[in-house]
C-alpha cells in the first residue's frame, strides 16, 4: 500500500461523496447550459452553443478549484485534522500533492461529464482534437484557481471562507464572461475583464472552438496570476506559522 496513492484515492472519494460538489460543479453548470441555450436564448447558432459549453465547463472547474479546495482546507484546519496529520509520517508535501491530484481527477471527471451532456443537449460538433485540446486547456488553466483556493484555505473560519469565496467566484464568473458573452457587457466591464484571470481562462477555450489558438496574452495572464497566488499563499502561510 503506497501512502501517497492511498491518500490520493481518499481525497478523490471525499470530493465525490460531497453533495455540494455534485450540486455546484455538475448539476448547476448543466442546468445553466440547458437554460441559456434552449430556454432563453434560442437562435444563436452552433457557435454560441459550443462557446457557452466552454463557459459553463470553465465555470464548473473554477468553482471546484476555489470553493471545494479552499473550504475543505479551512475545515481540516479548524477541526484539528491538519494538525493531527502532521503527526503521521505522511509529509506535508505528499498531503498537498494528493489534494492536487484529487482535484485534478475531479476536474477531468467534470469536464468529461459536462462536455458529454452538453454535446447531447445541443448536438455540439467539434473535432476530436478540439474536444481534447479544450479539455486540456481547462485542466491546465485551472491551476491559478487552485492556487486561489489555497489562499481561501488560509482563512480562519469556514463561514468567512465560504462567504468570501462565493463572492470571488461569482465575481470572476460574471466579469470573465462565463454567464453572458463579453460582447453584450458594458464597455467598462469589457475593459476590466482584460485584467481578470477568468476571462482569459474562458477566452482560451472560446478561441479553440472557433478554430484559433489561445493567445499569448491568455497564457501569460494566467501564468502571472498563478505565480502571484502561489507566492502570496506561501508567504501568508509562513507568517501564520510564526504566530503559533
Amino acid at each position: 500500500m503506497n501512502p501517497v496513492w492511498m491518500q490520493c484515492k481518499a481525497e478523490i472519494l471525499r470530493i465525490f461523496r460531497n453533495p455540494y460538489f455534485v450540486f455546484w460543479s455538475l448539476f448547476m453548470p448543466i442546468l445553466f447550459y440547458f437554460l441559456f441555450t434552449n430556454v432563453f436564448n434560442v437562435g444563436m447558432g452552433d457557435e454560441w452553443h459550443a462557446h457557452f459549453l466552454m463557459s459553463v465547463t470553465c465555470f464548473s472547474v473554477m468553482g471546484s478549484a476555489i470553493m471545494t479546495l479552499g473550504i475543505r482546507l479551512v475545515e481540516e484546519r479548524t477541526k484539528g485534522w491538519s494538525m493531527f496529520m502532521r503527526l503521521t509520517p505522511l509529509s506535508d508535501g505528499a498531503y498537498f500533492f494528493a489534494k492536487m491530484v484529487g482535484q485534478t481527477m475531479i476536474h477531468i471527471f467534470s469536464i468529461i461529464i459536462i462536455f458529454t451532456v452538453g454535446s447531447f443537449i445541443n448536438n455540439v460538433t467539434l473535432t476530436i482534437s478540439q474536444w481534447l485540446l479544450c479539455g486540456m486547456w481547462i485542466l491546465l488553466g485551472s491551476f491559478p484557481f487552485l492556487a486561489l483556493g489555497t489562499l481561501v484555505g488560509l482563512m480562519k473560519k469556514v463561514d468567512t471562507a465560504s462567504g468570501v469565496s462565493n463572492v470571488i467566484y461569482m465575481g470572476l464568473a460574471i466579469l470573465g464572461g462565463m454567464w453572458m458573452p463579453m460582447e453584450i457587457m458594458p464597455k467598462f466591464i469589457q475593459s476590466i475583464a482584460q485584467w481578470i484571470p477568468s476571462f482569459h481562462f474562458g477566452s482560451g477555450a472560446w478561441e479553440m472552438v472557433r478554430g484559433n489558438a489561445p493567445s499569448l496574452v491568455n497564457i501569460s495572464v494566467l501564468i502571472g496570476y498563478l505565480i502571484v497566488f502561489v507566492v502570496l499563499s506561501i508567504y501568508i502561510r509562513r507568517k501564520q506559522e510564526v504566530v503559533v
Binding site: 501512502p3 493531527f84 503521521t88
Partner: protein, 307 residues
C-alpha cells in the same frame, strides 16, 4: 534505561502568558507516565511540544535523540489529541486502512478493529457519523495504526463512559507491558493514581512534584485537626505546636494541618486549650487535589516543603 524523551529547561510563552515555565525532565523507555494537573497548568502545551506540534520559546526537547518533528519519529509515535474531529466522507474501514498505509510496519487491521470495539455494520459507516464515544475509540485505533513505540494521549478519557474507560485503560496497560512508552495528560488524580507508574504533577506551568503515585499522594494528602473557633484561642499560639504545619481559620472553624494528628491532639490537651467539637480529617485525594487547584499551588507548596 534508555531515555526516549528529554526536556531541557523548556519555557513556552503565548503572547504575554507563560504556559510552561522552565521545566526539565526525562522519560525512559517503557514508562507509563501521567502528566497531572488542573486545567491551564501547562500539561497539554508540554505534550504538544513533545510531539513537535508547537515549538518551545526556550529550551530543547529531544524525542528518541532527534528533534520531535523528525520523520523517523513520526513512524514510531502515535497520538490521540483533544478536539480533533474525524475526517469526513470516509468510512471507518477506509480511514483505518489509510492510516495503516502511512507506516512501514502497521498494526494488523483485525487488531485495530478489535481495539475500536465496533460492530461489523459500523465499519461501513462514515467515520464522522459515529457517536462521540465511538469516535474516541476510532481515534485510539488511529493512534495505534503504526504500532508505535511511544504513545501520547491528551486527556484521553474525556467523553468516555465508565466501561469504555475501563477498556481503554486495559488496552493501554497491555501496550505498556509489551514495552511501549505511554504518556498521558489528565486532570483526574484518581485516573493517574490507578493507571500510571509515575506522575508528573503540574501547576501554573511548573513541575511541582514528580514520582511514584504513592509518594505524590502522600505529598498531596496532609491530614488536619479542626475545632470550633473561639475568641480565647490565638492562632499564633497554635502554630507553635509541634508537627503543626499550618493554621487556617475557615467557616468558623480552626484547622491545624499536620501529618501527626495524634501528637497534635495530645499537645492540645496537655496545654489545656479549651477546644470544642473536635474533628480529625484525613485528606482524601480528590479533596486535596481540588484544594490544590483552587488555591493555585499554595497548599502544595506549604505541605511539600514540610515533607
Amino acid at each position: 534505561m534508555e531515555i526516549v524523551i528529554s526536556l531541557n529547561q523548556i519555557t513556552k510563552q503565548f503572547k504575554k502568558q507563560t504556559a510552561v515555565n522552565n521545566i526539565s525532565t526525562v522519560i525512559h523507555k517503557g514508562e507509563l507516565v501521567a502528566i497531572l494537573g488542573p486545567n491551564g497548568a501547562g500539561k497539554s502545551t508540554t505534550l504538544l511540544m513533545m510531539l513537535g506540534l508547537i515549538e518551545p520559546t526556550n529550551g530543547e526537547i529531544t524525542l528518541m535523540g532527534d528533534h520531535p518533528k523528525h520523520k523517523r519519529n513520526r513512524e514510531r509515535i502515535g497520538a490521540m489529541l483533544q478536539e480533533v474531529s474525524m475526517i469526513d466522507a470516509l468510512t471507518v474501514m477506509e480511514v483505518i486502512q489509510l492510516f495503516r498505509s502511512y507506516y512501514p510496519q502497521p498494526m494488523a487491521f483485525e487488531q485495530l478493529i478489535s481495539i475500536t470495539g465496533l460492530q461489523e455494520e459500523d465499519l461501513k459507516k462514515r467515520a464522522d457519523k459515529l457517536s462521540g464515544g465511538q469516535k474516541r475509540r476510532l481515534s485510539f485505533a488511529l493512534a495505534l495504526a503504526g504500532d508505535p513505540e511511544i504513545i501520547f494521549f491528551d486527556e484521553p478519557t474525556v467523553g468516555m463512559d465508565t466501561s469504555a474507560r475501563r477498556n481503554f485503560w486495559r488496552t493501554v496497560e497491555e501496550m505498556n507491558k509489551k514495552g511501549k512508552t505511554v504518556i498521558f495528560t489528565t486532570h483526574y488524580l484518581q485516573e493517574a493514581d490507578d493507571v500510571a507508574k509515575r506522575i508528573i504533577l503540574f501547576n501554573q506551568g511548573k513541575i511541582i512534584a514528580d514520582g511514584a503515585p504513592i509518594d505524590i499522594k502522600r505529598k498531596l494528602t496532609a491530614s488536619s485537626v479542626s475545632f470550633a473557633a473561639n475568641d480565647f484561642i490565638s492562632l499564633e499560639m497554635l502554630a507553635t505546636i509541634a508537627y503543626v504545619m499550618k493554621v487556617v481559620e475557615k467557616d468558623g472553624r480552626v484547622f491545624l494541618e499536620t501529618d501527626h494528628t495524634d501528637e497534635v491532639l495530645e499537645e492540645i490537651f496537655a496545654r489545656k486549650i479549651k477546644v470544642k467539637d473536635i474533628n480529625i480529617h484525613h485528606g482524601r485525594l480528590d479533596e486535596a487535589f481540588e484544594q490544590l487547584t483552587r488555591r493555585g499551588g499554595e497548599f502544595v507548596e506549604s505541605s511539600l516543603d514540610a515533607v
